[in-house]
Symmetry: C2
Subunit: 532 residues, 2 copies
């Protein structure tokens, strides 16, 4: 089927029903033919091939092992040392074949219905096509003038999304705040932190950067520590406050208060709190309202809420406890690519005081074209709201998703995952060998095998569960889950969030886990027997 | 043609030949029908519509005014306050119509053949489809294990691209260095700066961040100052060394040495130099080899080369003077989305010592899944090479571009723009009313109207040229250029880099500039006459 191509193609690892059709009858742009580089007919011809390729991939996605069995270097070894000098004949078709035969068998299929690891990528047809459309239009909306409609659509969709998530008006443009669409939570947290830092340093003097202290819990995502490091906060001034199982791994306001008090007494300056709604390990929800009250007592500490995962759940009014948290925060971010049908990457951030962002990140140079039409207007130049000047037209994708699925569609999507997670949780509880380790609030179930009597302590139990995860993930048509280690307890994480996941995938996943557990426990019993 | 849709559609501003066909006969995913959110057939059907939509856009692109005549709020006023609760019937088709009728008439068409402003976005069919493919596959390659083939392809293509650009082996994986593909130069510079900062602070003590000094010229892109601010370098410790027209606006090694010496004598610590190959205003090239020698004399100052624009030109061996510059640098970045046919966004960065990056930006948390296959191997986890954890599979696009156009294809593309710029330069020189203000080295021509006698000084000449740019840009089928202000001299910038630009567009652009100049000069002559 595949003629010899620039890469050596390999066999094996392809989906069992080999769904992706070969691409044929295409010619390739000539190296010298620069006029054809962006030719409408050429785009149409190759573009239809790409659409069919992706559709075929989706059709066969359930048949791929979620995670490939490959070893480091497997792909590098198969590719030439240099880029081709001139394209081979029919290069695009050959490249698509190599994507099918070389690359897809070596990726982790984040969209697989059996992907339960990390937080799965909650993608959609409209999200993917929104990205494709933005790439085709290819504008660079770093200022209003650099693409007015792109900036305005971004302003509209962050307000749309903010209202859909029941955020307070003060975080929306309509209420004097405002939002932007960045790539990742890492960027959002960094922007908020730099804005807070510069506002504080303007008060206390720029040279006191070494006195600033930031706060989080031991459950806060590494993104925050990364941002704090980048922003020049001393590593020893990042307070990771311990959390406990009895508190559902949420950050304790009194512990935060004590930490801030101690820092103030030591002559340091509390700067920033990164609270989390839906931690990565167990989806714990920090008591943000109470934390804001503590922060307010310490000279206006900036409170950012990292709702990377669970922010999407705010679309459902039944999560009213969680919705209430945003009332007094300075900024909040969530990843629409995590659970809200926007393809990677898509992080929405809102701030109550955009002027602090612009003061820290704003730029002014002659060569940035202004537009006479914008003079006297208070236009948003999004280059001043983020860490980068060049940016993509991500708003288009978010707008299409909201438009084509509607707020009710997003709710159905979230609810279906929450319901499947509840069903998985019930199955775990029905099997006395297992326990649910952390309360399930959204669509993540944290569970583990109880330690069999006489096996030994916590360490042995952790090893047992580590082995269970490894074996469950090794089944080529089985689930792919990940783990957490919280308070010394190792647990398996079953995160339901892939758009293609249906109830049967959840049931089958549980069956695989049960079977592997049975086999492991038999071995353990034998081992305990023998070693007596 | 367009039935009533969720948005109110407007007329006017569409391309004159209205090339984009109406999209019909489609139904929309039901809000409750989550099973269809990523359905292969639905993707195929809507995907083909998107491909035709983009192809139609390309076909009519030359007919749009490059820059829209709109005023702030024009789009926000036309959109509803809230996202729809449920999608309207045929929502996707309606949304595409609104993209055509509402959004496209309000964007700046960066891919227009008459876009000569900033640096145009040098896009391609394969670049756009590479983005579409990556969005469809939607993997999140933050570690090797999180998508092995994506990480390995990135390692391969940065070496491919590095060799194609004649970079020294020490910046490639093959030579002990290595590269990554980020979104923007802002990110690349920030990563390099944070790596350098933390390496230096490990030597001199973390609390001395307030003693660190960074260097650039007054021509360096604001991206560097933004990065320095984010990284916590004191604003007054960013030395912007003046450049001069006699030095072609390049950074003087002796001035750099003097600045560093003065800082050392004041007890400060020189940290980082951001040199530029192809400045934004005039494409000046700093003498990087000599600057590296100066940096080496001051305790291993990290030298980063920002080759955001001109890095692409290194693909052509005839730029051997420029190619030679990378020999001793610590890191280098270039935007393949600026001039190398990769759609936005795409910044390649190479470093000689990846370990410094990982030391500063590396993360380690239990919930990040490892892969047993990777144990004992020295795998690259790209989350430790950048400011973010979540990232897109940008390598796919770069690989497709290199594969389908070949290194010779990239050369032809760059050379055709350089040749057109040379032709434009010659036309400017042929008209005695104009002067070329800065030497043309790549595909940017900086020029201005000479100040007519008796008009007055530099300020009046600047006003004259400001008016010339405004009038030239106002012609709806004319060019769109930008400006620079260097050494008190205002100049027009004609940057040739849009993939669709042909010689006739350049000739026509010049004709518009000449005509406007004639009309402005007549008015000026009358005014000078009258006011005598």
């Amino acid at each position: 089927m595949a003629p010899p191509s620039h890469c050596h193609t390999i066999n094996g690892g392809a989906p069992r029903n080999g769904a992706i059709s070969a691409v044929e009858t295409t010619s390739t742009p000539e190296a010298s033919d620069t006029a054809r580089l962006l030719d409408a007919d050429e785009f149409r011809r190759l573009g239809h091939q790409v659409v069919d390729f992706i559709a075929d991939y989706y059709a066969g996605l359930g048949d791929y092992p979620v995670h490939p069995s490959v070893t480091p270097g497997f792909l590098r070894r198969q590719l030439p040392v240099d880029a081709p000098s001139r394209p081979e004949p029919e290069a695009f078709a050959a490249a698509l074949r190599d994507v099918r035969d070389l690359i897809l068998p070596g990726v982790t299929h984040w969209q697989s219905p059996r992907h339960f690891a990390h937080f799965p990528a909650s993608s959609s047809t409209v999200g993917a096509l929104g990205e494709a459309l933005a790439a085709g239009i290819n504008v660079v909306p770093f200022t209003w003038a650099a693409s007015p409609a792109a900036t305005e659509l971004e302003m509209v969709v962050v307000d749309w999304l903010g209202r859909a998530l029941h955020l307070p008006e003060r975080l929306l443009f309509a209420g004097g705040g405002g939002g932007t669409i960045l790539g990742t939570s890492c960027e959002a947290i960094l922007c908020a932190l730099v804005a807070a830092r510069d506002r504080k340093l303007a008060e206390i003097g720029a040279r006191r950067i070494g006195d600033l202290v930031v706060y989080c819990s031991d459950q806060t995502h590494f993104a925050f520590r990364k941002a704090a490091r980048i922003a020049g906060i001393l590593r020893e001034h990042c307070r990771e406050i311990p959390t406990y199982r009895d508190d559902t791994f949420a950050l304790s306001p009194s512990a935060l208060h004590a930490a801030m008090q101690a820092d103030v007494e030591a002559g340091l300056v509390p700067l920033f709190l990164c609270a989390t709604v839906g931690t990565t390990q167990t989806t714990a929800v920090d008591p943000v309202r109470e934390l804001c009250a503590v922060a307010a007592r310490h000279g206006g500490v900036w409170v950012h809420v990292d709702a990377a995962y669970a922010g999407s759940a705010l679309v459902c009014p039944e999560f009213r406890d969680v919705i209430a948290i945003a009332e007094a925060v300075d900024s909040l971010s969530m990843n629409a690519h995590k659970w809200l049908l926007a393809n990677n990457d898509c992080c929405a951030m809102w701030v109550a005081a955009p002027s602090a962002l612009v003061a820290a990140l704003g730029t002014e140079q002659e060569y940035i074209l202004k537009d006479a039409a914008a003079e006297g207007h208070d236009v948003v130049d999004y280059k001043d709201w983020g860490t980068t000047l060049t940016r993509r037209f991500r708003a288009l994708k978010v707008w299409l998703v909201l438009r084509c699925y509607g707020v009710e569609g997003l709710r159905s999507h979230v609810r279906s995952h929450v319901a499947m997670a509840a069903a998985f949780e019930a199955m775990v509880r029905d099997d006395a060998r297992f326990e649910v380790v952390a309360p399930r609030r959204f669509a993540l179930v944290c569970f583990r095998l109880r330690s069999p009597e006489r096996l030994g302590g916590e360490k042995a139990a952790n090893e047992l569960n580590r082995r269970l995860l490894e074996e469950a993930n090794a089944a080529s048509s089985g689930p792919y889950m990940s783990s957490a280690m919280v308070g010394g307890v190792y647990m398996l994480r079953c995160a339901i969030g892939s758009t293609l996941t249906e109830e049967r995938h959840v049931r089958e996943a549980w069956k695989v886990v049960q079977e592997r557990a049975t086999s492991i426990l038999v071995n353990v019993a034998n081992w305990v027997q023998t070693s007596r």
